[in-house]
């Protein structure tokens, strides 16, 4: 992740220690993928209690940008910054693959460089990436257009075939009502370096930068 923001996008990038509390200098917080504290209990369940998380909540309150990728998305749901939960994949196995996603909204800083309904290929790598929420929450998400990315087939059909992990409504990524917090299971940073074969994820970061730098 740091490689993309620091080396590919040439942005000042600071790694934040889990016990840090002073992060006022940060414009965009990225909670990256991984296995926080080993995730032996439930993904993100321990990370929500990291000392740094109080500062993350304050950062969110001020309307500043937060991106949670994979484990970061799980942490954001555990923190309550995003609704719903991520549970075991439909077939109970970890999945590492390239998923095709449909971009549902392009009016967010995160997605303004994409076109509406664009189908992009972004890697996924998770064991607990099946998005779940109760009926009411799901309805609110849809009504507020908080679903940002949906799993789909290569031809852009949002159906069971295009759904790798059983996520409800094929949800791959959601934002909060204000749009400053984005959580997604796929890894845009793994599709942001042409040497590795795909740059479909780079636009997500570029869109955000275009806004911040403007």
């Amino acid at each position: 992740m740091a490689y993309i923001t620091r080396d590919i996008l040439a942005q000042p990038t600071r790694m934040i220690w889990h016990q840090d509390t002073d992060i006022d200098d940060i414009d965009v917080i990225v909670i990256p993928g991984g296995f926080s504290y080993g995730d032996y209990l439930r993904c993100g369940a321990i990370a929500q209690f990291s000392p740094v998380m109080k500062s993350v909540l304050a950062h969110a309150d001020r309307g500043k940008a937060i991106l949670g990728i994979c484990n970061g998305f799980q942490v954001l749901t555990e923190l309550g910054l995003l609704p719903g939960a991520l549970v075991r994949n439909r077939d109970l196995h970890f999945i590492c693959d390239r998923a095709t996603l449909k971009v549902e909204r392009t009016d967010l800083p995160w997605t303004r460089e994409y076109s509406k309904n664009e189908v992009v290929s972004i890697p996924i790598a998770h064991g607990e990436g099946c998005y779940y929420a109760d009926v009411e929450t799901l309805k609110q998400l849809e009504d507020n257009q908080q679903v940002v990315f949906r799993y789909c087939t290569e031809t852009g059909d949002v159906n069971a075939t295009g759904n790798p992990n059983g996520s409800l409504n094929n949800i791959a990524g959601i934002c909060n009502p204000q749009g400053n917090i984005l959580g997604m299971m796929p890894h845009p940073e793994r599709a942001a370096d042409p040497v590795l074969g795909s740059a479909d994820g780079l636009k997500l970061f570029e869109g955000l930068l275009a806004i911040s730098l403007a």
Binding site: D7, I8, G38, Y40, F94, G127, H187, V195, L196
Partner: protein, 789 residues
Amino acid sequence: MTPFSPQEIASEGIKPEEYEEIVRRLGRHPNKAELGMFGVMWSEHCCYKNSRPLLKQFPTEGDRILVGPGENAGIVDFGDGFQVAFKIESHNHPSAIEPFQGAATGVGGILRDIFTMGARPIAVLNSLRFGNLEEARNRRIFMGVVEGISHYGNSFGVPTVGGEVYFDPAYTGNPLVNAMAIGLMETPEIVKSGASGVGNPVLYVGSTTGRDGMGGASFASAELSDESMDDRPAVQVGDPFLEKCLVEACLEAFKTGAVVAAQDMGAAGITCSTSEMAAKGGVGIELDLDKIPVRETGMVPYEYLLSESQERMLFVAQKGREQELLDIFHRWGLQAVVAGTVVAEPIVRILFKGEIAAEVPSTALADDTPIYHRELLAEPPEYATKAWSWTAESLPPCTAEGIEIGGTQRSWTEILLQLLDTPSIASKRWVYRQYDHQVQNNTVVVPGGADAAVVRLRPLEKAEGGNSSWNKGVAATVDCNSRYVYLDPYEGAKAVVAEAARNLSCVGAEPIAVTDNLNFGSPEKPIGYWQLASACRGISEACQEFQTPVTGGNVSLYNETLDSDGKPAPIYPTPVIGMVGIVEDLTRVCGQSWQQEGDTIYLLGLGVEISRVEPDLTSELRECGVTLGASEYLAALHGTVAGKPPRVDFYLERRVQEACREGIRRGWVKSAHDCAEGGLVVALAECCIGGEMGAEIDLGTPEIDRLDRALFGEGGARILVSIAPESVPEWEAYLTEQLGEHWHKIGDVGQQNGSLKVLLNNTPIIEASLADMGDRWHGAIERRLSGYK
């Protein structure tokens, strides 16, 4: 009077004559703790007492070799300041008993070997063997092993980028789990394991010590039996998150320059690390067990010394700088204590509750250990000579329509589809999809896409004012066709090395060095030793021929299961070769799949015509040809494991591989795939499936003996490549110069979702649709697993 009964001695894995030797070395009888220390350190796993004389013949030196055998991992120079550490290790017996933790801690162990040297792990590969998936026990082991590897590697954050998986009844109950790790040196100096500096403190860091994994090294050096299930405490439990913290803390600690030496605690835990560090440094170590952080109470010295609790390391630090190091580990939430001192006297002295609990000369444990020079069979054993007497003439006759097998007429297309449905040949997507193969953002070729994995070399920290475009890579492969080795250990082992080099060449990488994992049966049996010795001779010769020195590895013997009648059933001898190669330009890397309709397809190496059988040629030379001996076709279709495996022609191999690499470097070659199990036609089918494009193949009108040999025969140093039409003149001119007659234009890439059509003597022999081929190949493993859910 011996203080131990013969049973007590035997239970430590010590033979009566070895016990006498211990008494002679000590000048007294050992106590219980010391006996346990000798037991683990004199096990094959730790001291190679059976294999050492054989391993000596391996070539170990070369211009690029920075660290050869003897350290935690080998290190090679990749140029431009890149130094690559790599090593392979087995965790076969633990995986047989507890597949998930057995495999998981196997990954954990090999990762520690890498970062103990100061290198950051950047990739893992696996070589796995299981019994047939039709048996429930094998399915359980297979699924558990894959999940264990996935659990540890994914959580630690290292991509599992490649490997191989075979299924054969020979591995029922004794699976093979070999894990290879690759690391990029991150510290300015390579960290070695020899202790030095009398008075320097000895630090224990990482996790706590408990009773888990007691005596795992001895356990790994004995046959498995029905009672082995009772040895479950000998299997360790891994904590990948703790190891992730450990790698960060270790690399940070090494960068301070305050660490004199480091050794990971793997097999035989504290015993092994203290005695090896002391013996290598020619000094002694005094260690106080009361200082060791524990996870349970009431442990006795024997248990401390033999525990194989995971994620622990031993450091020798510069005197006066220990606190600096302890602080780093504590910041990462890890245990770290000063537990001992380097002493001048070359002994390992263990203190417990203020008294000496054990005191043994360190070289007696780690250096000057027993060696068994065994008698090599003067003649090949009967099973081999019997198998060699097989000839293809015993098979039913072939026609253009097919062959009658067991009373059923089978077409060549049906046979191709059946081979694609063989789990050993079929897609391993079910396996690698569970491994995070892209974490760290350097995976250039994902699993399933090419004959070898390719990972970009990129330091974690951006160099001062340096460039940020990293264009150099490491290619890696693990290989072993164990049926070849079983049927002819010497020739088979050569073929294994040749295939590894060929696989690297197919992605465009220059083969550099080897790490080997020798998985064999009992060396105490004449056939087992003959297999081991012959295979070592083959590896040695082949590594010399390819100029790929061996930088270390692992030996796993006694891979035999005793059935309930007490009859030993050895595995196929399986010398797994892990090979690394340099990719100078990551933009010139090749996959195995067809790229473009209309591209021209070439077969490099031997063609389909029968090798000229001149009466004056010796039979040995004739065997260099493409053969059905030891082939997958023979085993899968005719149920026959016999014949001689194809013999390696080193000269041809090197020329073909060089041609392939040069073609990729020049940008002529758009896809490259070696012909392995299943021969030419299976390789063609794999190129089609990967590219989702058909192919029109015309094999001409060659003189052939049997159609099945022409289609499915193996060997012949073969690589299939596809070339864009505009490059054809240059490419062919180059081939004529480089390979003489050993190249063949055999057809064109067909249309998307078309079919594979093979013509021979102007007669259609095979026509298989992409849908049919893809269905068999993609679903073979999943179908066998889901059918029983």
